[in-house]
């Protein structure tokens, strides 16, 4: 695939955390391309840097060095408000612990990104209804998150992630807090979205779920490694 079709390009991406006297290299020289419409899984052991990578991909954090190009635009050094704007329009998040806002109803949770976008109420209503229909939660629109099961909450979170029609869905262990049945259901939902054309980047440590993706990126000690390398590193 040619350079101009890549949705996400990372070049030499590095992230270093500084605490009092300790320097921790969470990511070291990551090179990565994710094409539009691709379903990518990122896996690796705990502490390998996959969540940090996802945070940078989602513009929740910025790299210490390197380049991040999203939709042909370099985004690694945007200011806070520009990053917030891109998060709102280009990125949909699905978290392990759902992160629905307890005070808001299902509908209001899904509506929230559109509210931040300044969209008119009538359009918000139509879009939310559509998103909730897509995840099968329209009948629970007026419920509070606490009145839903874990699986239902994650479906609402998926609706919230896709309601803004983002360029990419970033899922951080989306099944981590679910039982296997609900986990499978959410994975089916993501698969469905992917078949509809969505670009998905999913962090998971569960090989069963990684298999749903087109491609799996393995990480170890802040670097992207291939499967054979994993075996040798683990030996």
């Amino acid at each position: 695939m040619s350079e101009q079709h890549a949705l996400i390009t990372l070049e030499g991406l590095t992230k270093v955390f500084y605490t009092d006297e300790v320097e921790t290299h969470a990511l070291s020289g990551i090179h990565l391309r994710i094409e539009k419409g691709e379903y990518v899984a990122i896996s690796g052991p705990s502490g390998c840097g996959k969540s940090t990578l996802l945070s940078i991909l989602g513009l929740l954090d910025s790299p210490t060095a390197g380049t991040y190009i999203l939709n042909s635009n370099p985004v690694q050094s945007l200011d806070l408000s520009q990053r917030a704007r891109i998060r709102n329009r280009e990125i949909g998040f699905i978290f392990q612990s759902f992160n629905l806002i307890g005070d808001l109803t299902v509908f209001e949770n899904v509506e929230l990104p559109l509210t931040y976008r300044g969209m008119a109420a009538s359009e918000r209503k139509a879009r939310c209804g559509e998103a909730l229909e897509k995840v099968g939660m329209a009948h629970r629109a007026k419920h509070l998150p606490s009145q839903l099961s874990g699986g239902q909450q994650q479906r609402v979170a998926v609706a919230r992630a896709l309601v803004g029609k983002p360029s990419v869905l970033l899922a951080d262990e989306p099944t981590g807090n679910l039982d296997s049945k609900n986990g499978e259901a959410v994975m089916d939902l993501l698969h469905e979205l992917h078949r509809g054309g969505a670009t998905i980047v999913m962090v998971t440590h569960d090989p069963r779920f990684a298999r749903h993706a087109d491609r799996t990126i393995h990480m170890f000690d802040g670097r992207v490694v291939d499967e054979s390398e994993i075996a040798s590193l683990s030996a």
């Binding site: 945070s55 209001e108 931040y116 976008r117 803004g164």
Partner: protein, 796 residues
């Protein structure tokens, strides 16, 4: 607008789901704003609102002043006043305004009624810009005679004594047994000078018009348009200096000064009101710090929600707006509560105020007060909401901002330290006022107030010649002394602490006439035999008066201890003489204990007493000391005087204890009010400390669980938390001490016998605060000690 509505809706819902937090925050803000609203209303009513007259800024008081003797304000005499009026160029009008008790007969009541009557220049109503509701004010020339022939009555008197009869104008009444025509009824609420129930022209006998040394007359004036205060002051200095040259006796050393009327009227209230305003401002700061702390705790608990919002595209500004909207909702609820509490507090102030409010003060909230409350609410929102909002919005989910320490916790501790410091300063100020009041209460006025009552009379000059006045006093005292249960009775010109004080210049008989600025001045009272016994004033040396004193040419006096010490030093004053009134020699026959005539807080001044027959005044008081409860005697006392002259108003007898209590009332009120505010501040600071420690225990559950797992006893954890609480309080003491020392100087005008910085008070306040901090830490400490280590570690 749509998103603002959404923010407000979310804020309301969020607060509804955290009722304990919302209640605590709204209560703290409400208390802070309520105290500020109440005190600001009082400050506004006294200090900021203009006097209720047209062009009030042009109203001024004119004083006699004597810079050499340090007298910054004094009343004047009729001849000086008339010269001022004639020779000054700065005023459209100038009026003398005196008040006296007079007997009014007429109207629907058969009994004569004692009234507070203002004797005013004919221009008085025009000068103030007040038009009577019925009839007219005084005409030029009506103040030229010897006795008032016209009277303007107050609206209240018109209703109570004349039944609101619109035909009252033109009716003749008797005032001190002389006919006077009612020419007007003042507008409702007009009672200026304070307490006036009626107004008569300022008349005077030809002799009084010549007595340039008889200082009794307050003077008010209205500046001409365009004339500045400074120009008027220079003008009056010129007039005053000229009068001193023209009439060196008694004007030598005296000149005249002009001061804005409003500033003068509020002079006695300013310090106390500003101290109270400062106190409630500190309370609001503490409340803000408290709510900011609660918001920080809440923000920490909502970190995930805020991070999620951020991940969904909310900018930092948007998050700050959301959080500030919640703060605004809290502040509005707190503001509404504060307004309610403020109005209730205002009513309480009005009810509990130990002295009646001046007539020109309207203690009511108006648009300015509402604007103040609204402005303060907005300011409060920023004060307590902005920092937590900025703080909470700055670290979204997944942030790599992993810095050492915990800024939220540091900020919370900082807020607690600030609260303790502010509470310390307030407690220290309250402590000073309480100690000051304690000293004041322990200070004797110089007489024994318990068991004695006094009544004030005025003998009309129509019937009461000099001899008749002496005779009346003799007969009245004989009747009073004959009553069962009366241990002693006496007559006196003015009872101490009654607010009336006469002084006179004198010189020692064996000394030459001193220069004007070195003349001796002493208070003067004429008293009957038995006065010192009736008042419980100790007679230290010599003798008191007997029935023969004052009835011949030989004038004797009993002097006060201070007068003896200050004027004669080491010499024995008994048998020595001094000269008053230019040539009248007075022999000292006794020395009495000092009496604080002007108030317990004012130092005793030189004072002397002469026998009543030597100076038989028209205004006199009777003092009766009872063998038992004096209140039981009152009907008999009233009847005894009534039977002596049925034409005189029936006097009311009041316990001397009431005079002493009234004298201490304002200091007691100020100290109580400030102590209440300090208690509130301490409570809020304790709440803040509690919140931080409780949150700390919650946040450190795992750490505490680990401590327990490796062998810490519950008591160790209790100590850990209490030590942290007391440690924070200790940290707050240092800035609190600095603040207390810095602001305590402002209290100086309110203190009696206490230095603004008192180590003992500061130490006591520190101990109180540390004890409160220990108590506030105890509940979180108990919670820490009761922690189940297994559960705490599982949660991790």
């Amino acid at each position: 607008m749509d998103s603002l509505q959404t923010d407000v809706r979310h804020a309301l819902r969020a607060l509804r789901r955290a009722p304990a937090f919302a209640f605590t925050a709204i209560a703290a803000i409400g208390l802070g704003l309520g105290a500020n609203t109440a005190v600001f209303t009082a400050v506004h009513a006294f200090l900021l609102r203009a006097l209720p007259f047209p062009d009030p800024e042009r109203l001024v008081f004119v004083y006699q002043v004597n810079p050499a003797r340090g007298i910054e304000r004094d009343v004047t005499s009729i001849p000086n006043f008339e010269d001022w009026r004639r020779e000054s160029r700065s005023f459209t009008a100038m009026a003398g305004v005196d008040t006296r008790r007079m007997a009014l007969a007429g109207g629907r009541e058969p009994e004569p009624q004692a009234l507070t009557v203002a004797t005013v220049s004919a221009s008085y109503f025009d000068l103030l810009g007040v038009a009577p509701d019925l009839g007219r004010g005084f005409r030029a020339g009506e103040d030229a005679g010897e006795h008032p022939e016209t009277i303007v009555i107050s609206d209240a008197l018109w209703r109570s004594r004349f039944g609101g009869d619109p035909g009252v104008v033109g009716r003749t009444v008797r005032l001190d047994e002389r006919a006077a025509t009612v020419v007007g009824v003042a507008p409702p609420g007009f009672a200026w000078p304070d307490g006036a129930e009626a107004w008569v022209p300022l008349t005077a006998s030809p002799q009084d018009r010549e007595q340039r040394g008889a200082l009794f007359l307050p003077v008010i004036a209205r500046l001409r348009p365009g004339v500045t205060l400074e120009a008027a002051q220079a003008d009056m200095r010129r007039v005053g200096d000229e009068l001193a040259r023209r009439y060196p006796r008694p004007n030598e050393g005296w000149t005249a000064d002009v001061q804005p009327a409003h500033g003068e009227l509020v002079r006695d209230y300013r310090a106390a009101l500003l101290v109270l305003m400062g106190a409630v401002a500190l309370i609001l700061l503490i409340a803000c710090a408290n709510v900011a702390n609660l918001l920080l705790v809440r923000a920490a608990a909502r970190a995930r929600e805020l991070s999620t919002r951020s991940a969904l595209g909310a900018s930092r500004l948007r998050l700050v707006r959301q959080l500030l909207t919640e703060s605004l909702v809290l502040a509005l609820a707190g503001g509404a509560l504060g307004l309610g509490l403020g109005l209730a507090g205002l009513e309480a102030l009005r009810t509990l105020s130990p002295v009646p409010l001046p007539a020109w003060v309207e203690l009511r909230p108006d648009a300015s007060v509402l604007a103040f409350c609204a402005g303060l609410t907005a300011l409060t929102t920023l004060a307590f909401g902005l920092f937590p909002a900025l703080f909470a919005s700055r670290a979204p989910l997944g942030s790599g901002t992993r810095v050492a320490g915990d800024p939220a916790r540091r900020a919370q501790r900082g807020f607690v330290v600030a609260q303790v410091g502010l509470a310390f300063a307030l407690l220290a100020c309250a402590g000073l006022l309480l100690r000051s009041f304690e000293r004041l209460s322990a200070t004797s006025p110089g007489f024994e107030a318990t068991g004695a009552v006094a009544a004030r009379m005025r003998l009309p000059d129509t019937r009461y010649t000099r001899e008749r006045r002496i005779q009346y006093a003799d007969e009245a005292l004989a009747r009073l002394r004959a009553l069962p249960g009366v241990r002693a009775a006496a007559a006196v010109h003015t009872v101490p602490l009654s607010g009336i004080y006469n002084d006179t210049a004198l010189r020692l008989a064996d000394e030459p006439e001193p220069p004007a600025d070195q003349r001796k001045v002493a208070g003067l009272d004429s008293v009957s035999p038995g006065y010192f016994e009736a008042m419980g004033i100790p007679l230290l040396r010599g003798r008191g008066f007997d029935d023969r004193d004052g009835r011949d040419e030989r004038l004797v006096a009993v002097i006060s201890e201070t007068m003896a010490r200050r004027f004669w030093g080491d010499r024995d004053p008994l048998g020595r003489r001094f000269v008053v009134g230019g040539d009248r020699e007075v022999e000292v026959v006794g020395i009495a204990g000092d009496v604080r005539h002007l108030g317990v807080a004012a130092p005793a001044r030189p004072h002397f007493y002469v026998p009543f027959p030597a100076r038989p005044v028209f205004n006199l008081s009777f003092v009766v000391r009872a063998a038992g409860d004096p209140s039981a005697l009152q009907p008999a006392l009233r009847d005894a005087l009534r039977a002596l002259d049925v034409e005189l108003p029936v006097p009311s007898w009041a316990p001397l204890e009431r005079l002493v209590s009234q004298d201490r009332a304002l200091p007691r009120f100020s100290a109580t009010l400030l102590a209440s505010f300090a208690a509130l501040a301490t409570g809020l600071a304790a709440l803040g400390l509690f919140a931080v420690l409780a949150w700390g225990v919650e946040r450190r559950r795992t750490e505490l669980g680990v401590r327990l797992a490796i062998g810490a006893a519950p008591a160790d954890l209790r100590k850990l938390v209490v030590r942290e609480g007391v440690g924070l309080a200790l940290l707050g003491l240092a800035p609190g001490l600095a603040l207390a020392v810095a602001v305590s100087g402002l209290l100086r005008p309110l203190l009696f016998g206490v230095a603004p910085v008192e180590p003992a008070t500061l130490a006591a306040v520190a101990l109180v605060l540390l004890a409160v901090a220990g108590f506030a830490a105890w509940l979180p400490a108990r919670r820490a000690a009761a922690l189940d280590p297994a559960a705490a570690l599982r949660a991790e």
